[in-house]
Amino acid sequence: MGSQDPIRETLMRYLDGELAPDERRQVEEELERSTELQRELAIYRSLQEDFSQMSFRAPPGSRSPSVWAAVNRRLTRPMGWILMATGIMAWVAHVVYVYVTSPAPSWEKAATSAIVIGVLLLFATVIHDRIRELRTDPYRDVER
C-alpha cells in the first residue's frame, strides 16, 4: 500500500459524505493544492454518476414478479414431507403388525419377507450407484 493511500481513503470518505465538516474543509484545502487529486476525484464522481443511473428491468421471461411464491413453497415444503413420512410410517407399522399376527404358515412369511427385503435392497443399491455416478460424472455440466 503506497504512502498516498491514507489521503485517498479520506478522499473516499469525502466523496461518500462520511466526513465531519472540519475534515471536509481539510480535504478541500488539499484538493485546491493538488490537480492530480482533483482529477482522481472527478473520475470517481463520474463512476458514481454512471452507477446512480443504473436501473434494472425484471429478467425477460421471468414467471413471477416476486420471489415470494418460490420462497413460500420452499418454507411450507418440509411440513408436506413430515405429514407424508408420518402417514407412511403409520401404514408400514400397521401392515407389519397384521402380517406378523396373521395365521399364515411361517415358510410363507419368510418367503414374502425375503422378496420385500430383496426388492428394497435392489432399490437402495441402484439409487446409491446413481447418486455416486452423478457426483463423479466429469461431463455433468455439459448441456446435451
Binding site: R8, E18, F51, S52, F56, P59, P60, W68, V71
Partner: protein, 189 residues
Amino acid sequence: MQPEVERELIRKCRGGDARFYEPLVRAYEPQGLRVAMGMMGNPEDARDALQEAFVKAFQALPRFDTKRSFGPWFFQILRNQCRDQLRSRAARFRVEVVDDGLLDLQGDEGPGSSRRKRERAEARRLLWKALERIPEDQREVLVLKELEDFRYQEIASILDIPEGTVASRLFHARRALRDALLEMGVVYP
C-alpha cells in the same frame, strides 16, 4: 418498513408461521435483487441467490437478535449466499445485466438522440464489463456503496469488517475499476 412492525413480524415468524414473512420478503426484495445482480452479474443467478437467502434467513430467524435491524443482517446472508454460489461449480460472475438505460439506447437512433446520453449509456455498459474484471471482495463493497448507497457503518456490518477497512477497500475497488475501464479504452475528461 417501521422497525416496530418489522420486529413484530419477525416475532410471529419465529413461531413458524411463514405467512408473516411475506411483507418482509416483499419489502427487501427490490433492494436485495439489485445487490444480488451487482454481485452475480446476471438476473437468473441473482434471483436464485435472493430466493435461497430469504429461505436461509427465515430458518435462522430464531437466532436473530431483534435489537438489530433486519436489513443489514439479511444482506449479510445474501452476500454469503452470492459468494457460495460464485464458488460453486454452477455459477460465475458473468455480465448479463438488464439495464433500462442500455435497453433504451438500442432504440435510440433518431436524430434527436443526445450524443452525451449515448456516451453515458456506453460507459455504463463498459462499467458492468469492468466489474467482471475486479476481485470479488472489491466488487461487493462497490455494489453496496454505489448501487445501494449504504453508509460505511452498514457496509461494515454486512461484510463483517471494521468500518476503517470499508474506506480502504472502496479506494482499492474504485482504483481497480478505473484501471479496468482505462484498459478498456474509456476516456475520462
